[in-house]
Symmetry: C2
Subunit: 417 residues, 2 copies
């Protein structure tokens, strides 16, 4: 069989009134893409029978495989399961394996097994049940006119478990695919337009089977080359050459050639150097620490941080001089330096970063304008400082400050400042 | 004109390969919903002309207003603007106001104005230009067969600005809508099924124009009542009564009747009590501090936190006894208590919370199983502790620990433990 096209339908009123951000589709698309399977469309509809049926009808004309998430919860606002049963012409029966599994989960979590949960074990008799290792709602696989329809719960971790355990292996066994290779170049310090201009000729020279995409996010621009072909190995080396070509052209704004979170790129540098790091965060309020500790194994290099939101904490724990604050204000190069020196000392780390700023909204004319941020990074023998100016609102400025801080540390540690 | 139905089309390969999570649609849906405008479908397609055209054709049969985001960036992978121009039968012209605006932005940000940016000022001559206050790509409004199509850039903050400044006022002026009222009940401590069973009769008794939805997220379940009618005032009081009825039934698991982040609910309690708070975070690595400082005005009550990821930081800054760690391990009630007492003292706050745990993945048989977390919360005169067990992976456990910690603090402060 040739390459298959996949369409994803997500069901739930919560998606149409904006109460829930759809993270499922992105995750599903990513995993499918790694297998060389193209997602051609994603559709979100409400918990309304006619909308669901229409979406099914339409997507089945556009794709060979339709993946559905949502609408399978234990509560009364979910209507998908009986609807699918009717759509595929089956009747509801209790699946014994699922029932046993649900009871085990309830016992383990020490919760009473209720009538509403019993319904979770019912499935249309015309489907193949897909086991849900971590939750109560099973997945269901249907066939119709040579096409495949798979329904999964909307709870992200349950959907992920069913995808990994059942759906991805099934697709891999039953369909052959093109090889797809992605190569990324993570940059920081310049905007999308600047980069586009700088690599214009390289982009134009790309062959038809290699595409370039720009993926900007706060503080960074990621370039992604995607190649498609029959032979994975030769494609891999072809993409690697192109990646190097682009990276050489962009030289000093390149942070990494691996599609990893910046926190992990920084972590790898620290592991290589067998060095530790610590933080003194004022305006970012713990966000940088949080980001660093998202990475498995951060305990090897991250010792901790002082969130010194209040002036007293800066003075009492980091030893910042009250007079320096009075003279220069808390958002100043001088305070950033005293903070980073305090952090090096009290956290007993090889490297430290400090950050102090005003993220917004504006509250007082005498303060520096929102978006003004000072950072300092230091080791035992040197300190570097930098002033940043972000132009957005509080939360976006916080995002940008966090990402910029990680890049700033990474540059300092790798002598790229 | 009657109520309008809106369909949202998001354009971009990055959405179909999962590189980007679509946060735009949720935000748009939320704002439209507040105006009483129903979003009936959301569709995501790639940067492929035929896919975009098909989506436009189809959505125009299902909705009176089609909102498009994405595909308007300055770089070569964006094809939407010329496509729309062709679709609506126009030709590209430079919009002088947009050109001036783009040049101003470049001057302000101290960046060179490049040829690629010039293109941003071009628009189809058959559209109404919608001003983009904070970015370079303008929005565009088209008419076709009595329907309205609006195209906006995919960068979230730019889309938001155009929605607020142009699109929402336009829709409000040109269409009349039902009044829509939402009332929320935020609960913590019980699962969706338990809640459903407990309020079954109240849910069944709801009239047809009021809907109930369950919105579970890590550590909390939000119930949302949505009413629709002609008269906003009477709907408001009707919904308020229903909300009270549900809240009374659920009594001690109710955290708030306002649809606010838990961090803000906690902040309001602290402001009322004129009290300050501080944190000692081990396993959550600054996440709770980050969450508390997302709230505007957190500076009134949040003084700071110690992220004590490493044992040495627990000992040196919080004064945790090395012997206690050796005897009880770092993940224990005893350490949580010493941490919280240390935090109260060094941060000089009225309330403190400490958290220590293993979030995963499992690394060593001797450690407590992943998901084991101890928390302590204290004021000058008392300490309460609680052991939590989370059943997911590292990042989800971190989410749940963070949310649970905020609820735990809120309960302690409001004498609800």
């Amino acid at each position: 069989m040739a390459n298959i096209r996949v369409s994803i339908i997500t069901i739930g009123d919560e998606l149409l009134i904006g109460q829930t951000i759809d993270t499922n589709s992105a995750w599903m698309a990513q995993r499918l893409n790694e297998l060389g399977v193209d997602v051609v469309r994603r559709v979100a509809v409400g918990d309304v029978a006619v909308e669901i049926t229409t979406a099914l009808d339409e997507e089945l004309t556009k794709a060979e495989v339709v993946l559905i998430t949502g609408g399978l919860g234990p509560t009364a606002d979910d209507i998908t399961k009986p609807l699918l049963c009717k759509y595929f012409g089956g009747k509801m029966v209790v699946d014994e394996r699922t029932l046993e599994h649900i009871k085990t989960i309830f016992t383990k979590r020490n919760r009473p097994f209720l009538e509403a949960n019993m319904k979770q074990a019912e499935v249309p008799d015309c489907c193949t049940v897909l086991h849900n290792r971590i939750g109560t709602a099973p997945g269901m696989l249907f066939h119709k006119a040579g096409k495949i329809i798979i329904s999964m719960p909307g709870v992200p971790f349950e959907m992920m478990a069913i995808m990994e355990d059942e759906v991805l292996p099934y697709l891999q066994q039953n369909f052959s695919h093109d090889a797809i290779v992605h190569k990324s170049i993570i940059t920081s310090g310049e905007g999308e337009s600047f980069i586009a201009e700088k690599i214009k000729d390289l982009e134009t020279a790309l062959p038809a089977h290699i595409k370039l995409a720009y993926l900007p996010s706060p503080g960074i621009v990621k370039l992604r080359l995607t190649g498609r072909g029959n032979d994975k190995l030769s494609l891999e080396s072809e993409l690697k050459l192109r990646q190097e070509e682009f990276a050489n052209r962009l030289e000093n704004i390149v942070v990494s050639l691996h599609d990893l979170p910046l926190a992990q790129v920084l972590g790898q540098s620290l592991i290589e150097k067998k060095a530790t790091i610590g933080l003194a965060e004022s305006c970012t309020g713990g966000y940088i620490s949080h980001e660093l500790t998202q990475i498995v194994g951060a305990t090897q290099y991250f010792k901790g941080g002082i969130v010194c939101y209040d002036r007293e904490v800066k003075e009492n724990i980091l030893g910042v001089d009250a007079k320096t604050i009075d003279t220069h204000t808390a958002v100043s190069e001088e305070i950033a330096i005293e903070m980073v020196q305090g952090a090096l000392k009290v956290l007993k780390v090889d490297y430290a970063l400090s950050i102090t700023g005003m993220l917004g909204p504006a509250t007082d004319k005498d303060e520096p304008p929102p978006g003004t941020v000072w950072m300092a990074v230091a080791d035992k023998s040197s300190v570097k400082t930098r002033k940043f100016k972000f132009h957005y609102d509080r939360l976006r400025n916080k995002d940008m400050a966090m990402q910029s801080a990680i890049v700033f540390m990474w540059r300092f540690i790798n002598n790229k400042l």
